[in-house]
Amino acid sequence: MTEKILNIDMLSKSFSGLQVVEEVSFDITKGSRTALIGPNGAGKTTVFNLISGIYTVDDGRITLDGINITDMPERQRVNCGVSRSFQNIRLMPHLSAIENVMLGQHSRARSVGHLMFPLGWVPGNRWARRAAEALGEAGLDTHAGEVVANLPYGVQKRIEVVRALMPEPKVLMLDEPAAGLNEKETEELQVLLEKASAQGVTLLVVEHDMQFVRNLCDHVVVLNFGKKIFEGAPSVVNRDAAVREAYLGTDYVDAA
């Protein structure tokens, strides 16, 4: 399947004169699992924010499944099929785990009837059941009713991923989903993401954990100082000179 689901074309963004993303272009194939990596400050989260619509694009185009979403208001982008998690956990702290997950369903609630349905009064309603199932698949259903502010970091991080899956997105963007997770939690996250991928969700993941990237992803895009410096298979990424220079510095490149 070589159909492209996400096209990033000459994307540029600067803040107060500092060029944070510079003419970045890459395409994501439908069903693939791509990692977006690079040293800190390379512009990876900014690219995510441009795709989400949190930042407006200075230059360039973003096309999602054939639709140009470059200037689309952020609220509507989820309806086009893009969903995400965040580098710093951004769950609603005063809501319970299952309520956070149900927020993810919001874009699926099309009518006023759906909007005004008393979710809290009808136990076992289909929205709550689906949300509970999703949490169960991630092994988190024991925490369903708890207020997320009281939950441990690793649990919150994974709830964010579950929430991001609820809109049934075409492209799922995850910003450092494994950061701060222990080995067991990282494994469970990988299982969850592989399940999603098997169901047709295209993954785009920002990560620093290279082992995680190698286990999960089939494609890597490398950014440095806002520019794309490499794109290819995970197995060859650490042999590329530009990538080594970005991570290790010039002196070390030749020593390899």
Binding site: R75, V78, M92, L95, L103, L115, F117, G120, R163
Partner: protein, 285 residues
């Protein structure tokens, strides 16, 4: 029921209604220090419809609510452009403007006040208050209520999941105005007299306190807050001034030890878990 306690209950119903009028916007993240302004509009409108137009209460109350809601809808456009302390000041400014307007309107009796014909006893007031409580609980239980609370916690992320933040905020603010209008109508028909001096800064402050002390995270909060502030002085039976000193101290201590308010989401969750566990469901331990 003695006349004295009937009076207290009527005040309690009023306090409950106006507490919910501030709670609904507060649950969406909007701080309203101008409740008195909306309540005044409701009171004068229902009073006017009763005395000068001669409508019966089952018409004056809803019409007053609708009118106040309409004013709130219009005011939401400028006011929702502000945030935080600016919004507190903007709503405060609104209430001052309302005071200024009514104190100068001869048709409403200006500073002398305005008499209201129809009388509403507990038989009217209590069901109305109950209705407000039930509807508020309903709203908070819906997906719309969920989106309100999501907007309160994190506007940006709520938008990313498809929530129409603007619509949610305008609706919450308008609903607040509508309910405040009901509160004003209750006041007008209970006391049969409307004086703008009653709808002052202290009223706005106290209503906001009912909500913030009771808790903004769940629909139980304003109920508990209104109950607390209405009934505790009766239990204490001290002089008026010492009563307020006591309140002030409680308020300060609450912000120190339990700033989220008396009723929090965590508390309702634990209570629910306790109850469902007792019924034998496989809840978490």
């Amino acid at each position: 029921m003695s006349g004295y306690w009937a009076g207290i209950l009527a005040i309690l119903c009023f306090n409950i209604v106006v507490a919910y009028s501030v709670f609904l916007p507060a649950a969406s993240g909007q701080l309203n220090l101008g409740a008195a302004g909306f309540v005044a509009i409701g009171a004068y409108t229902s009073g006017y419809l009763s005395t000068d137009v001669g409508l019966a209460m089952w018409l004056t109350i809803p019409l007053a609510a609708l009118f106040t809601g309409a004013v709130a809808f219009l005011m939401s456009f400028p006011i929702l452009r502000t945030r935080g302390v600016y919004m507190v000041l903007a709503t405060f400014a609104f209430a001052e403007i309302v005071q200024g307007v009514y104190i100068n309107l001869e048709v409403f009796g200006a500073a002398a006040g305005y008499p209201v014909d129809a009388y509403a006893g507990l038989g009217v007031i209590a069901p109305v208050a109950l209705g407000v409580v039930v509807v508020s609980f309903f709203i908070m239980s819906t997906r719309f209520g969920l989106s309100m609370r999501a907007v309160h916690d994190d506007e940006r992320v709520a938008a990313l999941f498809g929530v129409n933040v603007r619509m949610t905020q305008v609706t919450a603010f308008t609903l607040g105005g509508l309910v405040a209008g009901i509160g004003g109508a209750i006041w007008a028909h209970q006391f049969n007299y409307v004086e703008i001096q009653n709808f002052n800064v202290m009223l706005s402050i106290f209503v906001l306190l009912y909500v913030l002390i009771g808790g903004t995270q769940t629909a139980f909060g304003p109920l508990v807050g209104a109950l607390f502030f209405t009934l505790v002085p009766e239990v204490l039976r001290v002089s008026n001034d010492w009563r307020f000193v006591f309140f002030g101290v409680i308020i300060v201590m609450m912000m120190v030890v339990r700033p989220e308010g008396i009723v929090t989401r965590t508390m309702t969750e634990r209570v629910t878990a306790l109850l469902t566990f007792r019924r034998g469901n496989a809840a978490k331990p």
